[in-house]
């Protein structure tokens, strides 16, 4: 866990005072709506469909039990007793009162938390692998690097009014669990032949209405230059990124318009001028940040293979993950139980989870971008006991990596931008696939739902992606298949889904998913071949046919429709 030093604390405290004053000036009519909008957004405060929404930062998804208790208390006191974990590892409160937000921020500051830059046209929360620091395939522990970038990007004077939001993800392992190809900047920690740490730099990825995978613009950036290189990228973007059209303002459009090679040349030319400046990192800088992290003191344990009934076995297979230290495991507490909006958690659950973290995992947790919580350092021998407790709390649904582990944005139930609801769609699909043996037989499948083309539910990179669209004021759903968030297993590169065809009414969606699954089960060559692998192997046409009928029949349907029209 990163612990604040006096500078960190002072910055957060001074931010609270600043935002209190900005809110006061807005309420007194001294700031216009538009001005306050730009200011409140960079503090995570939206005005939503029914109420404001406050997004609280959970830097790189790392959370202490003490902080989680505070979130529980805040949600109970200032909201409706629950919170929502987002795909950017943050927490959102859906019902705070605008006037009370400064108070909420002051409470957060008492546990070293804030809402700084969780929205707005600035550098957002730095995200990373939820198994950072414990993954068996670790190259470097990404947390310290995330914190270095967090500090550098916090109130960066030059880059606080960018053309658009800016998201940076860091991956420190062999497998990419941080979706680095769909971020404005993705960084892969790598080591050169001498074992020196550096970063592969990926720029210009993103989802939203123009989904694009990022481009590698540098294969190896030695770590001392991390911040000056980011500075060069951000400067080129800040100066030349489009500001005339909000839909064309992300860096991905600049990279696309310039072409990745020309963009890289511009960055390199800028960097040639600013490399070796004061922002160059030293070993002391890195050591200082690393020393602020408390690390779990693992015991010397023999590995055990806990044996319990079939319920435990299913859970252990899906929700328990490898650990680099012998005798330990990581556990995902699933926030994807059927009937509960994905990522939602009540104050009571938060307190119970904080308690589990304290008893089983050194008082720490991680939030995953798949909207679940991870206990990262559990003794293997404690797994059966933890499973029993998690089950009592409805947090042991054995569905991690499976179809019902749905990523979904809050959608039309809450969000003012949404075209359609996402939560009821997720629920209907979860109900349809509630049978565990069937679910496990289908195997690994990411199903992601967004309520609009802004793609907060990452539908473009779901193996199955569902997008809410508006057709003459009605909610319809477009289905994509073949997306992949990143190389979570070797050889399966990041990819964007392809649209299957015309969209569906909400009630049809579960049956459509069932047909797609039926098609997959018929065509997979073994249980090891996942849904997305089959799509990539045979293309989308067979899946299309399974849903709409064959091409011949589709053409006949179309001409019949024309004749009737």
């Amino acid at each position: 866990m990163y612990t604040y030093d006096p500078v960190d604390q002072r910055i957060v405290d001074e931010r609270v005072a600043q935002f209190r004053d900005q809110t006061r000036r807005f309420l007194a009519g001294q700031l216009t709506e538009e001005e306050f909008r730009a200011l409140r957004l960079r503090n995570g405060l939206y005005i939503q469909r029914f109420a404001p929404m406050l997004r609280i930062a959970i830097p790189y998804g790392l959370l202490s039990s003490r902080q989680l208790r505070k979130l529980a208390q805040i949600a109970r006191r200032y909201d409706r007793g629950y919170g929502h974990f987002s795909t950017r590892q943050n927490m959102q409160l859906n019902w705070p009162r605008l006037e009370e937000v400064p108070e909420i921020l002051a409470e957060l500051a008492t546990v070293q938390m804030h809402a700084i830059q969780t929205s707005g046209n600035c550098i957002r929360n730095i995200t990373t692998d939820h198994f950072a620091g414990i993954a068996p395939d670790e190259i470097v522990d990404s947390f310290a690097w995330c914190e270095i970038i967090r500090q550098w990007s916090t109130f960066h004077p030059e880059f606080s009014y960018l053309p658009r939001k800016f998201k940076i993800a860091v991956n420190g392992a062999v497998h990419d669990r941080a979706a680095t190809f769909t971020h404005d900047i993705g960084l892969h920690a790598v080591r050169d032949l001498k074992g020196e740490i550096g970063f592969r730099v990926i720029v210009g990825g993103g989802l939203g209405r123009t989904p694009i995978l990022g481009h590698v613009i540098r294969e190896f950036l030695p770590w001392p230059h991390l911040l000056t290189y980011l500075e060069a990228i951000l400067r080129v973007y800040n100066r030349y990124g489009r500001r005339d059209n909000i839909h064309k303002a992300r860096i991905k459009i600049l990279v696309k318009d310039r072409g990745p090679e020309k963009f890289r040349d511009e960055v390199e030319a800028e960097w040639a001028q600013c490399r070796d400046s004061a922002a160059t990192l030293t070993e002391d800088d890195v050591r200082r940040i690393e020393s602020r992290f408390t690390r779990p003191q693992h015991e010397k344990l023999d590995p055990v293979d806990p044996v319990a009934g079939p319920g435990f076995a299913n859970w252990a297979k899906r929700n328990v993950h490898g650990h680099k230290v012998r005798g330990y495991a990581a556990v995902t507490l699933s926030l994807k139980k059927t009937g509960v909006p994905p990522g939602d958690v009540t104050s009571d659950q938060m307190e119970a989870i904080a308690d589990l973290a304290e008893r089983y995992s050194f008082g720490e947790l991680r939030v995953s971008h798949e909207q679940n919580l991870i206990l990262a350092d559990v003794r293997s021998r404690d797994l059966p006991a933890l499973w029993h407790e998690a089950r009592e709390l409805a947090l042991a649904t054995p569905n991690i990596g499976l179809l019902t582990n749905i990523i979904a944005c809050p959608g039309g139930d809450f969000c003012a931008l949404a075209n359609a609801k996402s939560i009821p769609v997720a629920e209907a699909i979860q109900e349809r696939f509630d049978e565990l043996d069937y679910l496990h037989d289908i195997g690994e499948l990411d199903l992601n739902i967004s309520g609009c083309m802004n793609a907060c539910g990452h539908h473009h990179v779901g193996h199955i992606g569902i997008l809410g669209v508006d057709k003459n004021g009605e909610e319809w759903y477009q289905v994509e298949i073949g997306g992949n968030q990143g190389e979570t297993r070797l050889g399966a590169k990041a990819s964007l889904g392809r649209v299957l065809g015309p969209s569906f009414a909400r009630a049809e969606v579960p049956a459509v998913i069932e047909k797609l699954i039926g098609c997959y089960l018929e065509r997979r060559d073994s249980e090891a071949e996942r849904f997305v692998d089959v799509v990539h192997r045979i293309g989308i046409e067979p899946f299309k046919e399974s849903v709409y009928g064959n091409a011949h029949q589709r053409a006949a349907d179309r001409s019949r429709a024309r004749a009737l029209a």
């Binding site: 730009a38 550098w152 004077p157 880059f159």
Partner: protein, 120 residues
């Protein structure tokens, strides 16, 4: 009469400010293009036509660090106290506030943060 904040003090400047020797840069301008003229400039003005247009921050940073400009660097346009902390840190030392912004209140903005993370 425009109200100016200059080196953290409120200054009443007789309108119009002398224009001779003033270099004015719009957000899309390249500071490299005026680098040769900086030594003789009375001041450099950087325009912020919109509250959220941040290009001028990079222009200021480059004028100060890359092109060695040491004279008055004035931010003009849609500027409220909320910008001043950032603007001063990239090198601005003079500010024309947007109409209606109270300059006395704005002075406190320089003290908003007593520490920062970046080594400028």
């Amino acid at each position: 009469m425009a109200t100016l904040i200059k080196e953290r003090r409120i200054v009443q400047e007789r309108a119009p400010s002398p224009e001779a020797g003033v270099i004015r840069l719009e957000p899309g301008d390249d500071p490299a293009a005026v680098a040769h003229a900086l030594a003789g400039a009375a001041r450099v003005e950087v325009s912020f036509p919109k509250f959220g247009d941040g290009r001028g921050y990079s222009i200021a940073k480059l004028l100060r660090t890359r092109y060695g400009y040491r004279g008055e660097l004035r931010a003009v346009g849609h500027i409220t106290r909320d910008h001043l902390y950032y603007m001063e840190r990239v090198g601005f030392d003079a500010f024309e506030l947007r109409e209606g912004e109270d300059p006395a209140g704005a002075l406190s903005a320089f003290e908003t943060f007593s520490v920062s993370y970046q080594r400028d």
